[in-house]
């Protein structure tokens, strides 16, 4: 017998089930010894006395030593108890033991509950089919073993068949129960793990918030004349904030607000302006919303290029089936009736784009009074 599969840890639940079976076997063996001694002491021999004595003592010796082996193995190498070789030997010994009462022609079916523990072992280590087959063998040999005994064969067969099957079913219930509990525990541990990580992140975020973001804000306040430094500080602040908010690491926009934030960031970076973005409500990013964001980005870029201001305001509002985006600056403005040649692109890429999306776009501007680009798709508010 080799310790196959011993590398893998034996599941605690299987060890428990095996222990139950082993306890049955120990009780069966003790019961066998008691009854066998009684037979020797009280019954008149029906066969040759010496043969009878050696058969009964041999059965005792075999049952006790095999039980001891089972107990030791259950503790040291539990996997072995489920191996085919062990189970076959176990079954041969059980059926042979069950036949002894008939061999010695005793009235007492003294082997009692011992052979059935072999079927119990199969119930604990193999499936229901194997259990039924083994139970049939044990029941058959026990039925053959009660020929001269007072016990009735029908009862012996019923018990030997039913008990292992019921046990196999019970073990199945326990196993499923254990499996569910283990899964719940694993899920709980995983959840706890996740929460720990989230807490660490929150702590880190709080720290960064209290120190780094403050410093970056201060830099923007204190050195406004140095545009390069301000721009750098602003970009760092933005990146940090995206990370703190658990934003998309790869910068993939999935919603109106994330796409708009990216567009605003790009304009800030490229044109060295501050975009004050307010978002009320959000919407999933589909082709139309994407087109709207592109048009808004164009409007922001235009404001940055032509308005001559360092701040642009953007307000986005989204309802169930509509989105409205307004881009505003307080800059130079222009007369919409006299659009300069170099700015015809605005109308095409902003107004034209929105109209193709089936939305409405309007541009309000006057020289010296800033520009407001109002874009809307879907039903009005």
């Amino acid at each position: 017998m080799t310790a196959t599969g011993n590398l893998q840890r034996f599941p605690p639940i299987e060890a428990t089930l095996l222990r139950i079976v082993v306890v049955f076997r120990v009780i069966g063996a003790l019961w066998l010894v008691t009854l066998a001694v009684l037979v020797l002491m009280t019954e008149e021999p029906q066969i040759d006395s010496q043969t009878r004595t050696s058969l009964i003592l041999g059965t005792i010796a075999l049952a006790v030593s095999w039980t001891v082996i089972t107990v030791v193995l259950a503790r040291r190498r539990p996997k072995v108890l489920g191996s085919p070789l062990f189970l076959v030997v176990d079954l041969v010994l059980a059926t042979a033991t069950a036949l002894v009462p008939t061999l010695v022609r005793t009235e007492s079916f003294f082997v009692g509950g011992y052979p059935i523990s072999s079927a119990f072992l199969v119930a604990a280590t193999k499936g229901t089919t194997a259990t039924v087959l083994v139970a049939l063998l044990v029941a058959g040999s026990s039925a053959a073993g009660v020929r001269y005994a007072s016990a009735r064969a029908a009862e012996v067969i019923a018990i030997n068949l039913l008990a292992p099957v019921v046990l196999a079913w019970g073990f199945g219930v326990i196993r499923r129960h254990d499996e569910r509990r283990r899964r719940a525990e694993e899920a709980l541990a995983e959840e706890r793990d996740k929460r720990t990580r989230a807490d660490e992140r929150a702590e880190m975020a709080a720290h960064l918030h209290d120190s780094v973001l403050q410093t970056l804000a201060l830099i923007q306040r204190r050195v406004p004349e140095n545009r390069a430094v301000v721009r750098l500080a602003r970009r760092q602040e933005r990146e940090l904030r995206v990370w703190l908010n658990g934003g998309p690491a790869l910068g993939i926009a999935t919603s109106l607000n994330s796409a708009l934030t990216r567009a605003a960031d790009e304009v800030e970076d490229k044109h060295d302006v501050l975009v004050e973005l307010s978002t009320a409500g959000d919407a999933p990013l589909d082709d139309r919303v994407g087109g709207l964001v592109l048009a808004a980005r164009e409007a922001m870029a235009n404001a940055a290029r032509f308005a001559g201001v360092d701040r642009i305001f953007v307000l986005s509002e989204a309802g169930d089936d509509w989105v409205r985006l307004v881009v505003r600056d307080r800059g130079a403005g222009f007369d919409p009736a006299v659009v300069p040649d170099d700015r015809r692109g605005i109308r095409e890429s902003i107004v034209g784009r929105i109209e193709r999306l089936g939305g409405a776009a309007s541009i309000h501007s006057a020289p010296g009074e800033g520009t407001e680009v109002d874009l809307q798709i879907g039903a009005a508010e």
Binding site: D210, L218, R221, E237, S278, A280, R311, G319
Partner: protein, 213 residues
């Protein structure tokens, strides 16, 4: 110099306090500063400034704790919240606790001074960002079952918030809406009150949705 607004600064960031001091020392009367919640409460009660410049994020209960403690004993002290943060729920929480306004720390010096004076006058100061937060918080026209008026913005209040979010001053807003500046101020104060009183579950859910982590 008694007509200068008396200002107290609460901020746990040393550099920021230094910066504010050097920018504001001519325009306002700086009566003190604190870097901790407990010390701030004690000193504000003692010196009773007109306006407290308050960092939203403070260790030990945040700016909210300062407002709540001071309001209990000195309701005349007014608060202007500042933060570097985009996190709307913290800002809304401080406004709900009683701050009269909110500006970001990147605000320009003149704007900051104007905001301090406005708060000292009892006005509400809405930066474009706060107006955006308010629109977001009251977004959607879901009817509220108890239809308390403070659970929704009126169309006029909403329009006022939209214009402020787009960077219009109160004056520009009044011109756009063809109403007086006083009326704009009234709308803004009404919105501030609604923000403080509102019990609409959307506001609570909105705050939960916007948790930083």
């Amino acid at each position: 110099m008694t007509d200068l607004v008396r200002v107290f600064v609460v901020d746990d960031h040393h550099l920021f306090r230094v910066g504010v001091r050097s920018e504001l020392h001519e325009a306002v009367d700086l009566v003190g500063e604190a870097s901790e919640v407990e010390a701030a409460i004690e000193m504000i009660r003692e010196r009773t400034p007109d306006v407290v410049l308050l960092d939203v994020h403070m260790p030990g209960g945040g700016g909210r704790a300062v407002i709540e403690a001071v309001a209990a004993t000195n309701p005349e002290v007014r608060f202007l919240a500042l933060s570097v943060s985009d996190s709307p729920e913290d800002v809304i929480a401080v406004v709900r606790a009683g701050a009269r306004g909110y500006v970001t720390k990147t605000v320009e010096t003149e704007e900051l001074i104007a905001a301090i004076r406005a708060v000292a006058e009892g006005e509400a100061v809405f930066s474009p960002r706060l107006a955006g937060f308010v629109l977001d918080a009251f977004a959607g026209s879901i009817p509220v079952d108890d239809d308390a008026e403070f659970n929704q913005l009126t169309p006029r209040e909403r329009e006022t918030m939209r214009l402020i979010a787009l960077g219009h001053s109160y004056k520009e807003t009044s011109q756009r809406l063809a109403i007086s500046v006083k009326t704009v101020e009234r709308h803004v104060s009404a919105v501030l009150r609604k923000l403080q009183l509102s019990n609409r579950h959307e506001l609570a859910r909105w705050a939960a949705d916007h948790r930083i982590v």
